[in-house]
Symmetry: C2
Subunit: 385 residues, 2 copies
């Protein structure tokens, strides 16, 4: 059977489906309210001998039992394994715990991992699935907005190295992604805002009409209005699906999805993983990226202000933190040289060529320094305001 | 350029070249005497910003400087990193040391790893290349016969888990394999014999004419005769290349390359990694596999004796060790249930359907127990005789 035969068309009228076209590795993203409790979704998951739900200690008490009950009919055995919650646990040690759990449950090549949680859980569970017995199936069940619109889609999996975010990882596509919008109601407001950073990102890099729509619907999104969330998640996934289908392994085009991430990763690593949420760091990073684009002469002031204004309305920081009181820009540069896009020590940035279109560029250190100096707080702060 | 354009035809008349046909991931295997010192080989390695030679402390003083000097013209920087020598170091901890070395040298996506050593080095360096920044290029420079005829070819990379050999890994094809037969002269006789186990394997699973040839040339091989080694390595690589090209990710056919390995992995894990060499464990495992094939009624006694006789002439063990004095067969079964070919707890074995052809089969525990009882020593021994 081809992937499109395995999965039925959504039953509910409000349910959206986006397909990632990757030949034999194609898979569907289901988006809708209450999907965790919808048996018609779960009966069409991949075949397998047993399932291991990988989650974290925050999400487990909320949704693990419901997911396990849905999967009980499909697999001879369903086990749950919970990691501590937070980016600071996206480590080799946590990954080893997942491997140990797989071994202890007697997982074989036909076992299926379900990643139930945010981006950290999805990245780690996906990487475990990529490596266990050289690759087993996994399904993404993202429970944060950020994971639903970005990290659960496209097959990037990874753990952090002390010296660099997502430095160790693999491309390993999930067999399906199930985005239940209902779970976003239990998400802390700060996490919802962090997810909106990645939603907003799709405007400047690919679709300014979507950006217009976000400007008109930001209040509905922050209030978790179902119709607004459905459109935002569906449109975000569609843009990402189109980009990933054209460049699965990030040979070129796919790097545009990293707008704001070069600066953002430096913020996350420099502050210590988990202090700034990924989406918060990306928000401040996108402001820096917009300023850099303007400094290069690609966009105007109005665009930069418009992006910052929408990020602010989403409850996100628009200025970077101080990473080093003596040479802040130097510290940013040092951390950014470890970015995976860097080559021969030259940092490469995603800049906005014109609103709705992004490209990869290098920039002189002096220019980057001036952007960092302009876009950062002047006093050290531990968390974004 | 396509891979076939990148690499020239071998310059020396005695040099052999085998190509692995995997579309964009195709690559050549160069086989010959003195290739480490042949500039015409090294000038055609993959482009990159820098090279990291990953080796072990035994091989480093012998060949690392020579390889580094060959690579010095191609890369802006060439560094060497040596791990301790032995299967017991094929661990997560060693892998982390490789990642640390990559980070410390500022390796980027365009860096190239050279795996200089035996199967342990190749598997670990290859797995590091598979995961670092989600995949960088690597080249295999195998310095043991076993690695030249088996582990360096085909893109299987892995580390061991305390509970199972090669349990954590990836498929990641090298960009080239360079087999210098000259290095085999410095190989201890025990290691050469271990490599011959994998050479002999290709007979029963694929080519009994090659098996005839091995029977006629075993003394020359053990004496490191260049012409004999060239043919043995070339034919082994050719058979493996054909199998891998038809089933890169071991969906089916490729499992035949694991003849003897289900029993063999149990021996390695049960004795503690590094005590029995992989090839030694596979030799005893092939004898068990041949006995199992006979017990099922697929081959006759004569075939079983012929295989054991050739393995003995190669200096290899033909009986398994005692892993548990009280319930030896039970311990073997317990370890084999963790084999990657097992499904739902059912162990699957490669058996010889007829000499020159192998298939994957399950077998009743009672039958497997009787084979183990028949094929194992009665007294505990630490190393093969």
């Amino acid at each position: 059977m081809t992937p499109s035969n395995i999965f039925p068309k959504p039953a509910a009228a409000t349910m959206q489906r986006v397909d990632i076209a990757l030949g034999q590795r194609s898979y569907p993203i289901f988006i809708g309210q209450g999907l965790l409790g919808a048996p018609e979704i779960w009966q069409h998951m991949p075949d397998g001998t047993q399932a291991l739900i990988v989650t974290n200690t925050t999400v487990e008490p909320l949704y693990a039992a419901l997911l396990a009950s849905q999967l009980a009919g499909r697999y001879a055995r369903v086990r749950t394994f919970a990691l501590p919650d937070g980016e600071q646990y996206k480590t080799q040690d946590s990954l080893s715990l997942i491997f140990d759990a797989l071994v202890q449950t007697g997982a074989d090549r036909k076992s299926v991992i379900y990643a139930l949680g945010g981006g950290v859980v999805g990245d780690m569970a996906g990487f475990a699935a990529a490596c266990y017995m050289r690759g087993i199936s996994f399904v993404q069940v993202p429970t944060t907005l950020l994971a639903q619109v970005d990290s659960s889609v496209g097959g990037k999996t990874a753990i952090n190295h002390p010296q660099g975010k997502n430095l160790i990882g693999a491309f390993h596509q999930p067999r399906a992604v199930v985005c239940d919008l209902g779970v976003l109601r239990t998400l802390p407001a700060r996490e919802l805002s962090a997810g909106l950073a990645e939603v907003i990102k799709y405007g400047p890099i690919a679709d300014m009409e979507f950006f217009d729509w976000l400007e008109a619907n930001m209040e509905e999104l922050r209030a978790c209005d179902t119709a607004a969330l459905t459109h935002a998640v569906q449109r975000s996934c569609q843009i990402k699906a189109d980009v990933v289908a054209r460049d699965e392994h990030e040979a070129g085009l796919r790097t545009i999805l990293n707008f704001g991430h070069t600066f953002g990763h430096a913020i996350e690593a420099g502050m210590g993983y988990g202090r700034w949420l990924h989406g918060e760091a990306v928000a401040a990073g996108m402001c820096m990226g917009a300023h850099l684009s303007r400094a290069i002469g690609l966009v105007d002031d109005r665009f930069v202000r418009r992006l910052a204004a929408l990020l602010e309305r989403a409850g996100l920081p628009t200025r970077g933190p101080v990473l080093d009181g003596r040479d802040n820009a130097g510290r940013y540069l040092e951390l950014m040289r470890l970015d995976k896009k860097a080559e021969s020590g030259a940092i490469r940035f995603i800049v906005i060529e014109r609103p709705g279109r992004a490209v990869l560029r290098t920039a002189p250190d002096a220019l980057v320094r001036s952007v960092i100096d302009h876009c950062c707080e002047t006093e050290p702060v531990l968390q974004p305001a």
